[in-house]
Amino acid sequence: MIERSHHDMGGLPAGKVERSEHDYADWERRVDALMVLLSGIKGAQKLLTVDELRKNIEAIGPEAYDKMSYYERWVVSITQTMLQRGVITTEELARKMVEVKHRG
């Protein structure tokens, strides 16, 4: 139902709250740090707003949203925002991902 966005979930039925916690992995902390730096909370740049971050998370389809972890959603959203802002291009990202993957 498009009138209610998937992320806008207050009041929907759900099961028990699992009181899970996990120690954040280094890559997750780096994603968090990128957000802090790019949004200008720290450092000189202001290349994204938390509002764009949220919008791009909200644009993740419901199935993917549910399957992805919190920082997986963030890294996708930050990357989308950088593409939208023209800081990086899809081609640059593609080439870099191939390069990193083959580095092993």
Partner: protein
């Protein structure tokens, strides 16, 4: 190279993190040193910072008044650096119990308390605590009688919220440091009460 080293391949999302970061470094947008420094800084922020604020409020009524009027200024008064945080502190009393959520994403006073726990960000918490707070609190082992008003705070915009839990009985004469030691993160989110033991 991921911290998993040679022993496990990067997931798609870890690959994206490395790739995005390297591109941004190449373009001079950020440096690896900056990223590591900010990550380390966030790691150093934890609930003990909020606990100091609570302990001060418990022992100094004038400070408590200032805290309830302007949470951010009161944190800064204690030398706590809280960039970009607009903090509203809500007080638990014998008549009122407060609990915090962000149903739309997971907003949390990170710069004061550090990164939130997984359960706070979970769909089940975000869905249910606004509609059945007593049931959710009971799952945390916290029973609030019907005679006590429950106020839920949904952080939908620019403010961030922290609960000032009630000072438990049996702590008379305790030092601020000792008091800070019994203030838990869960009591500052509102799913638990501060306890003396």
């Amino acid at each position: 190279m991921s911290e998993l080293g040679k022993y496990a391949p990067l997931t798609y999302f870890q690959l994206m993190e490395v790739s995005l970061r390297e591109l941004l470094v190449e373009k001079g947008v950020v440096s690896n040193a900056e990223v590591d420094a900010v990550a380390a800084d966030m790691k150093s922020r934890g609930p003990e910072r909020g606990a100091r604020v609570v302990a001060r409020a418990w022992t100094d009524p004038a400070y408590k008044k200032r805290l309830l009027a302007d949470g951010t200024a009161a944190c800064e008064e204690l030398g706590l650096d809280v960039p970009a945080l607009r903090l509203v502190v809500v007080e638990n009393t014998p008549e009122v119990h407060n609990v915090i959520v962000c149903t739309l994403c997971s907003c949390y006073p990170r710069m004061l308390l550090g990164l939130p726990p997984d359960w706070y960000k979970s769909s089940n918490y975000r869905k249910r605590v606004v509609r059945e707070p007593r049931a959710v609190l009971a799952e945390f082992g916290t029973r609030i009688p019907d005679s006590v008003t429950i106020r839920v705070h949904d952080s939908t915009a620019d403010m961030r919220y922290m609960v000032l839990p009630m000072r438990p009985a049996g702590t008379e004469g305790w030092s601020e440091e000792r008091l800070a030691g019994i203030v838990t993160r869960d009591s500052m989110v509102g799913v638990a009460l501060a306890q003396a033991s």
